[in-house]
Symmetry: C2
DNA sequence: CTGAAAGCGCTTACAG
DNA sequence: CTGAAAGCGCTTACAG
């Protein structure tokens, strides 16, 4: 991994060429105001002529600082995460950081590995969207870390980190209340891992909404699945084979809802007409989907942006109470309900 | 951007604690086989106890090497690029690189800025998906760079870089031939910037397919637009206001096709039945779309993977002829045609 | 502004 | 394997 060819030009070379001291040249690359604009111009010209490139890595080493941030997500193909990444990346870059990307593909080992690699690369901070069954060990490592870390999307029990997330319970309640208001009395809840905190919170919102409407919860129409489109297809097939078919379905996520719509069609029913379907997340595809999907926005991009800003704050101000920022979701009504 | 607290432990500290020399400790972190497993174990234990973290940045500085790679894309929300990114990231990480992410949002200035930042961070190589109107200056910088760089998706005139791309002409020809085989004699071509090389190549494929079928090209049903869903809506509105309506539409991209489907519906027509619609790229949404979209796969992930491997080769073997790898697209027939 | 010195945490090269 | 020295490219701290 070497690159050879001509010797790279250093600050020393620039200083010599411009006839100033190395210290002066150093002040100039760092935009110090203490330097007269004449000297600055002269030195900048030398840099230009010599083709100097600033070695930020060496600078960071000496000054014990860092201009990189690590962001770790579970899946890049999931538009929820690519949206969140967009939010993080955009605000971080604006502040002047360079971002290191890590993708865990929901593997705990990979997550630990990426964490190590980022720390060894001296990132100034980390934003972590944890794998669902993150080990206690991960939590411990995060806590022992000298580096500021923010958790996003999923909280980790026992971690002493700032957290940015979404109120899944409120969102689910909203969604189910919307369905009930539309006249539905039998509403299924499909998809997601039953043990995940993100499922449990949604389940609470679902129960609450039913309860407040005086509808009894029927466990047989709560069907879990892998949280993907395929999972949605499976779950809805199971559901539609049941005797007392519901008139509305609340799905764990938009991805699951896409599968559910497909399964409903396969059964010869018209999604949005014969049966109402509601998603969760409001990923970009929800809008272009047919029928356009009613859903609850969990503001992926805003989540990323918020996490990025919080991290920046943590880095610059260091101390202070750990924060917990919970975004309020928003009901998005389209044609599928 | 400092982090204070306790003094971090260095290799020196580890060596002292384990009773070995610094040189030995250094050999151990680098997995040298020259060290007896007894010594290795002892030292690893000391590292564990002291909570040592290897400073890869300092190591890279001293050994004039790099373990990071920069990947620059134009848009993270576009699943074509997030797919490509997935391919790049996955293979690079497997080799042992850490990836720096840059997003240009199609701005030349941003692209230059990101390029600078990555170089200053001493990346070992760069994969660049260039902004469409990249300036000559960018090309010059790339050529002067001491760092291996690979161009992906779009080629840059005058650049002396390796390139990985897709045969857009062949893909378009395939698509239009498919439509003609289905019995369509009047096929529109909608969307994309007329001056972009990616448009011109598609146009060539389109013309060729018509020509070989003995169909005369009608310029009035070739309508350009911004290459987005909105652009597709605009273009198809314009098209449908024309007197002699075509029976099939070849779209610049899947994204454009999504807009075209929407516009067709708004006009009271049934996409896939009253009018055939064909996309390009085969982004993941094409499959879940309704109707499932016929398209041409441009293998985004494979493109990324190929670029990553080529870069790795370039970094390790350095010299040799510049390569140009053009992937052959594949026809994907679904229900929209 | 300058100049000389020391140091960030590591690797390199070499004599033993 | 060890040990002492030098150096990667920069910043820091200080006397002038």
């Amino acid at each position: 991994m070497n690159q050879s060819s001509k010797k790279p030009v250093t600050l020393q070379d620039v200083a010599k060429h411009a006839g100033v001291s190395r210290a002066t040249a150093s002040l100039i690359v760092r935009n110090s105001p203490k330097i007269s604009s004449e000297t600055r111009k002269k030195v900048l010209k030398s840099m230009e002529e010599l083709g100097y490139v600033y070695d930020r890595v060496a600078a960071n080493l000496r000054s014990k600082s860092s201009t990189t941030i690590g962001i770790i997500i579970t899946d890049i193909s999931n538009t929820y995460y690519s949206d969140l990444l967009k939010g993080v990346h955009h605000t971080l870059e604006e502040i002047g950081y360079t971002v290191l990307l890590g993708v865990t593909f929901d593997s705990v080992e990979k997550q630990d590995q990426i964490l190590s690699s980022m720390i060894e690369h001296r990132v100034g901070g980390i934003i972590l969207c944890p794998v669902s069954e993150s080990a206690d060990e991960t939590v411990n490592r995060l806590n022992k870390l000298q580096i500021p870390a923010i958790l996003a999307v999923r909280e980790l029990a026992g971690s002493n980190c700032d957290f940015v997330g979404v109120d899944y319970q409120a969102g689910s309640q909203m969604a189910v209340e919307h369905l009930i208001k539309k006249g539905h009395k039998r509403v299924a809840f499909l998809g997601g891992y039953r043990k995940a905190s993100t499922w449990i919170e949604r389940m609470e919102g679902y129960s609450l909404a039913l309860q407040q409407a005086g509808i009894e919860l029927d466990g047989s129409i709560v069907i879990d699945s892998v949280p993907t489109r395929e999972g949605g297809v499976d779950a809805v097939r199971q559901l539609l084979s049941l005797p007392n078919r519901p008139t509305a379905i609340f799905c764990f996520s938009d991805l699951v809802a896409f599968g559910v719509v497909q399964g409903v069609r396969e059964a010869g029913l018209k999604p949005g007409e014969d049966i109402a379907i509601m998603g969760f997340d409001n990923i970009p595809e929800a809008e272009i989907f047919y029928p356009p999907l009613s859903t609850v926005s969990s503001f992926a991009q805003l989540t990323g942006k918020t996490a990025a800003n919080l991290l920046h704050q943590r880095i610059t101000q260091s101390e202070g109470e750990k924060k917990r920022i919970i975004l309020q979701p928003e009901l998005i009504v389209r044609e599928s309900t």
